[in-house]
């Protein structure tokens, strides 16, 4: 007798919890095994809730040591590598390797992007990078799991919290990714995953004053509207053509702010006092 299979409920992932959409809406999609799956159709309120928990989680995440954040991102690679993923083998391998790649930036990117600036005066002047804050990231559906990993890891490695908006067609894969996140020691709220209509959710994100940045992949016909709304709060928008190659340091820099500190000193920073 054939065993009756267990059909997994596809859920969103917000604040470390697996949730349905508060709206109760779902979108019927074709699942990896050919059956129909019902993917949560994320709503305006889901996004607002996610922004709230992301904001709460971001400070503590950024305050962890770079070493610790690097280990958690590496752990994400371990968790992804050890589970069945409803995607192609090539995508799964690329995604795992990408997580390993970005994990390694954690305690190094600051060294590349920060500077000690030789100012004329008795100050030690340095520019450091600090997180943008809360990002809403929309991976391109074509990039599948690699796109989600690239968006999540580049956001998190720079100390941000992020809300991933994943197209409903990838709902099952997004849920599998969220499960890996959940078991990776990543604190709840740092990376949140919403599913549904990306255009609809981005429109909501673009009028939410507490969203510091948008990270967008692929063609976005609605970009002019997103940019128009961003003007109100000077929201940063980072554009990427695809996740095919990992974000380079200067692209990672776009997910951070340069903060310059003039720290008083007794002698000019350039060397011994001239007097």
């Amino acid at each position: 007798m054939s065993r009756l299979s267990i059909e997994k409920t596809v859920k969103q992932y917000v604040g470390g919890k697996f949730i349905r959409s508060e709206s109760g809406r779902v979108m019927a999609q074709k699942g990896s095994d050919g059956r129909t799956v019902f993917v949560p159709h994320g709503s305006r309120k889901d996004l607002r809730d996610a922004v709230r928990v992301a904001r709460k989680a971001q400070g503590a995440w950024a305050a962890r040591t770079s070493y610790n954040r690097g280990q958690i991102l590496y752990r994400l690679a371990e968790m992804l590598d050890s589970r069945p993923l409803p995607t192609s083998e090539a995508d799964a391998i690329a995604a795992v390797d990408r997580a390993v790649h970005h994990a390694g930036w954690s305690d190094k990117i600051t060294a590349l992007l920060s500077t000690v600036n030789p100012v004329s005066g008795t100050y030690v002047n340095y520019s450091r990078i600090r997180p943008l804050g809360v990002l809403v990231a929309a991976p391109a559906p074509a990039d599948a799991l690699l796109g989600m990993v690239e968006a999540a890891c580049t956001s998190a490695v720079m100390g941000n919290a992020a809300i991933l908006i994943v197209d409903a067609s990838l709902g099952e894969l997004a849920a599998a990714f969220a499960e890996a996140l959940h078991t990776s020691d990543m604190p709840g709220g740092v990376i949140n995953v919403l599913t549904g209509d990306a255009k609809e959710l981005l429109a909501v994100a673009s009028i939410h004053d507490d969203v510091d940045g948008l990270l967008l992949y692929g063609e976005r016909p609605e970009l002019p509207e997103l940019q128009t709304e961003a003007a109100q709060v000077m929201r940063r928008i980072a554009l990427r053509t695809s996740a095919a190659i990992p974000a380079c340091p200067i692209e990672l820099q776009q997910l951070a702010e340069v903060q310059t500190v003039w720290m008083s000193a007794y002698e000019p920073q350039g060397g011994a006092a001239a007097y």
Binding site: N117, D212, T228, V233, C248, P249, V258, Q259, S264
Partner: protein, 492 residues
């Protein structure tokens, strides 16, 4: 330290220091009329578009200036495009750098003349144009000149290339300095420029255009069009512009960002601020008084990063305010061309009215308004004496909105946490200051402040090697340092 201010000797400096004519007082050449600088040549501009630029300290007209029409803006962008594709982007970095070095040197040679023009057109004291604006403008060109042949080191692991034509719109508070901040990194990275100076302060930009001619800068690499908002809108909205760089108010920044939405134009926005100046009880108080004054009364408070919110630890608030008021009573307000003048004129009647309106709002909202200076406020031009608003609440208008004038709002706090919370409770995030003699506290507080620049035991210090720019509604992008190259480059 408990003595009340009444028992302390007051300083009456009225007439105590004779007028000391500065060398900059010697008349400088200001033409009767200015137009535009396009393709390496000066153009008169249209007669019907002429507007006046005045000396705000005397209200006398200095010159008539033409406002560029859309056709003139188009001509300027065209000449910038041609210069970019045919000359500037093809020239070796070392050669580009040599032009910038030439400009820096020529600015140094003409610094007396430039300071004299700037002070007349802007109203700021000669002490500031002579010691801050002009030397820093020279330094910016000199600094970025050296980057021009080193761009392969600007983007780690990637080859860099220029963006193309940059449209740059600058404000009236540091006219020549802002032109330098905009032009130097743009030119070093191989971009060409159309610059629009503020309509109330066009004169030093036109002097700079003469320098561009004198140093044989290839025609079209730098173009300057004069005019007000309409000219600026035509410039940033031009279809063949690749990059928009703006310094000014957050309100105008929003308009520009909406205007360029949906285009491929890159942007740098240096916008408003409401800088917090945090003074802890363990600060060197007299130095903090000096810093507070530099923070808000420097350049009549017309500074986007001005330390306009003074946050005092409660235990020293009374003592500190006494010291501050005593020091403010020694500031000399008056003729900007007098080298002893500390506080000059407000740049325009419009800004003068704005400041008066805010002071009135502060009064209505219950603030205790205190004004002081060592000399009488002149009745010849637009002058506002140093003003301190006490007894404010965090939610009051004058504690939240940018006034852009010599008006300091005072608030108090009890713990470092409260200080950080109050400082960060702003839509802006350009700059902040923190005063303490305890290093661990300085680092902790500095790194927790949501601001692009933090001065620890100092304020309003600028250097071309030091990246400047804001977070949140104060804009994005940096000017100065290696970070100042990034907004003008893309990955090749």
């Amino acid at each position: 330290m408990n003595k009340k201010s009444e028992s302390k000797p007051t300083l009456d400096l009225e007439g105590a220091l004779e007028l000391s004519p500065s060398p900059e007082r010697i008349p400088v050449t200001i033409k009767e009329r200015y137009g535009h600088f396009i393709g390496g040549k000066f153009h008169d501009g249209a007669d019907e578009s002429l507007f006046e630029t005045i000396n705000p300290a005397t209200k006398e007209t200095l010159a008539h200036v033409a406002a560029a029409t859309e056709a003139e803006v188009n001509q300027a962008v065209k000449s910038a495009r041609a210069a970019h594709s045919k000359v500037w982007s093809k020239m070796g970095g070392a050669e580009r750098g040599k032009y910038l070095y030439r400009i820096a040197r020529r600015l140094q040679e003409k610094s007396r003349e430039l300071a004299a023009i700037e002070t007349r057109d802007n109203g700021k004291p000669i002490r500031e144009t002579r010691d801050v604006d002009i030397p820093l403008a020279c330094a910016h060109f000199f600094y970025y000149a050296g980057w021009a042949d080193k761009l392969e080191y600007a983007l780690p692991g990637r080859q860099a290339k220029s963006l193309g034509v940059a449209a740059q719109v600058i404000p009236w508070n540091f006219p020549l300095l802002m032109a330098a901040w905009k032009l130097a990194p743009a030119l070093a990275t191989g971009n060409t420029v159309v610059l629009k100076p503020a309509e109330t302060t066009p004169l030093t930009a036109m002097a700079l255009a003469e320098i561009m001619q004198e140093v044989d800068l290839p025609p079209g690499v730098v173009n300057i069009v004069n005019g007000a908002g309409a000219t600026g809108a035509a410039l940033v909205g031009h279809g063949d512009v690749d990059k928009v760089a703006f310094t000014g108010s957050t309100g105008v920044g929003r308009i520009i960002m909406r205007q360029i939405a949906g285009t491929k134009k890159r942007a740098t926005m240096e916008l408003g601020g409401k800088g917090a100046q945090i003074v802890f009880a363990d600060a060197a108080l007299d130095q903090a008084v000096e810093g507070t004054i530099n923070g808000i009364f420097f350049n009549q408070g017309h500074v986007c990063c001005a330390g306009s919110r003074l946050l005092l630890e409660e235990s020293i608030a009374e003592d500190f305010l006494e010291r501050l008021q005593r020091r403010v009573r020694t500031l000399r307000i008056g003729d900007p061309l007098d080298k002893n003048t500390d506080v000059g004129a407000i740049n325009s009647p419009e800004q003068y009215a704005t400041i008066q309106r805010y002071i009135e709002v502060g009064r209505k909202e219950g603030a205790n308004v205190w004004q002081g200076s060592a000399t009488a406020v002149p009745d010849t031009g637009y002058f506002v004496p140093p003003t301190i608003l006490m007894g404010l609440q965090q939610s009051d208008t004058c504690a939240r909105e940018e006034i852009f004038g010599p008006v300091l709002s005072v608030l108090t706090f009890r713990t470092p946490d409260e200080a950080v919370k109050k400082a960060n409770d702003s839509e802006y995030g350009l700059a902040a200051g923190v005063w303490s003699e305890k290093t661990s506290k300085l680092f902790e507080v500095a790194h927790r402040l949501n601001a692009g620049i933090v001065w620890a035991n100092g304020y309003n210090l600028f250097d071309p090697a030091s990246p400047f720019g804001g977070v949140r509604h104060s804009g994005f992008g940096r000017e100065g340092g290696i970070a100042g190259l990034w907004p003008y480059l893309e990955v090749a």
